[in-house]
């Protein structure tokens, strides 16, 4: 909990400002710690580069994305932290040797459709679920 003096100072500020400060403070700490917050990173899977254009008709590739980063306090709202992640972080603080930090992992996944030839030159249009990361978060 914050000390009394600081709490009084913050009282005049709107909750949004406080949140902004907290984010800013976290950003500073992060850069100080030289760690990156849990977020989505771009990763394009190119079927063309894999040399599959002879059997995959469409798409040429797809933006798969992946999640990477540190899940540490404060777990801001943009990180989509679960309640469990907060508990996990607390327990990690208490016992860092044995309890790991929460994981930065996908919280929302989407499908892609792939159109391809099979061995018999028949054509298959199939929906593959959970292929594209839409959002990352701490679990």
């Amino acid at each position: 909990s914050a000390p009394g003096k600081q709490r009084n100072q913050n009282r005049s500020k709107s909750p949004k400002t406080q949140e902004a400060l907290r984010v800013s403070s976290f950003a500073e700490n992060s850069s100080a710690d030289q760690r990156q917050a849990c977020k989505k990173h771009e990763l394009y899977v190119s079927f063309r580069d894999l040399g599959w254009q002879d059997w995959i008709i469409a798409p040429e590739g797809y933006a798969a994305y992946y999640c990477e980063g540190e899940c540490a306090f404060p777990l801001n709202s943009y990180m989509n932290a679960t309640n469990h992640a907060i508990v996990q972080t607390l327990v990690h603080f208490i016992n860092p040797e044995t309890v790991p930090k929460p994981c930065c992992a996908p919280t929302q996944l989407h499908a892609i459709s792939v159109l391809y030839f099979d061995d018999s030159s028949n054509v298959i249009l199939k929906k593959y679920r959970n292929m594209v990361v839409r959002a990352c978060g701490c679990h």
Partner: protein, 259 residues
Amino acid sequence: NFSMDSEVHSSFIHRRLRSQERREMQREILSILGLPHRPRPHLHGKHNSAPMFMLDLYNAISNEDEDEGFSYPYKPIFTTQGPPLATLQDNNFLSGADTVMSFVNLVEHDKEFQSVQRHHREFRFDLSRIPEGEAVTAAEFRIYKDFIHERFENETFQISIYQVLPEHSDRDSQLFLLDSRVIWAAEEGWLVFDITATSNHWVLNPMHNLGLQLVLENVDGQSINPKIGGLIGRHGPQNKQPFMVAFFKATELHIRSIR
């Protein structure tokens, strides 16, 4: 170290994969796609009718919500100068399909069979390699009908599609009428026949898959050569070849094994 992380991140994105890494990546992605190996199609006919039809379908669904199944845009996919010849009346079951698959006709040559009684044309499709855990919800046989200049515009033909039934010891193979309709000589476009029940039967009993027979008759009930009626066969243009398309819905949840 943040700068080091950045470099690693950056190099991870841009570095070209070594051949071994590339092979491993290919293996991993094939595994994600649920394929045992990289398919090696014999033909590269991306401009054949079936791949083009499927590509139209792909383009139609690619803008839709990816969480939903395919909703089948049941307008005539290959719009021609003429009016659409046929559409399925009820396409509700088509929406929500997980997989759509087209099948090439395996009959090597158009044998315009001219038995004593009648002309007919044969079609066969290999349904033995349908995706695992998928059930057929709908299936269609599609054949293109060209405009016939030599005929009167108001002349009509009757086109009938039969399922070939297995032979019994006491008789030759029999035919089971699936659908029959009247077409005008002046009409042009894709004819679509519902063969859902037949496809399900073939999936469950592969030995009974003896294909389809098409018979064209004039107004007097005499069988005529399908070519004369404008029905495109194997010798016709690539983008008008007859084919079969089936819609599947997953019957079970696929759980990837832990590796």
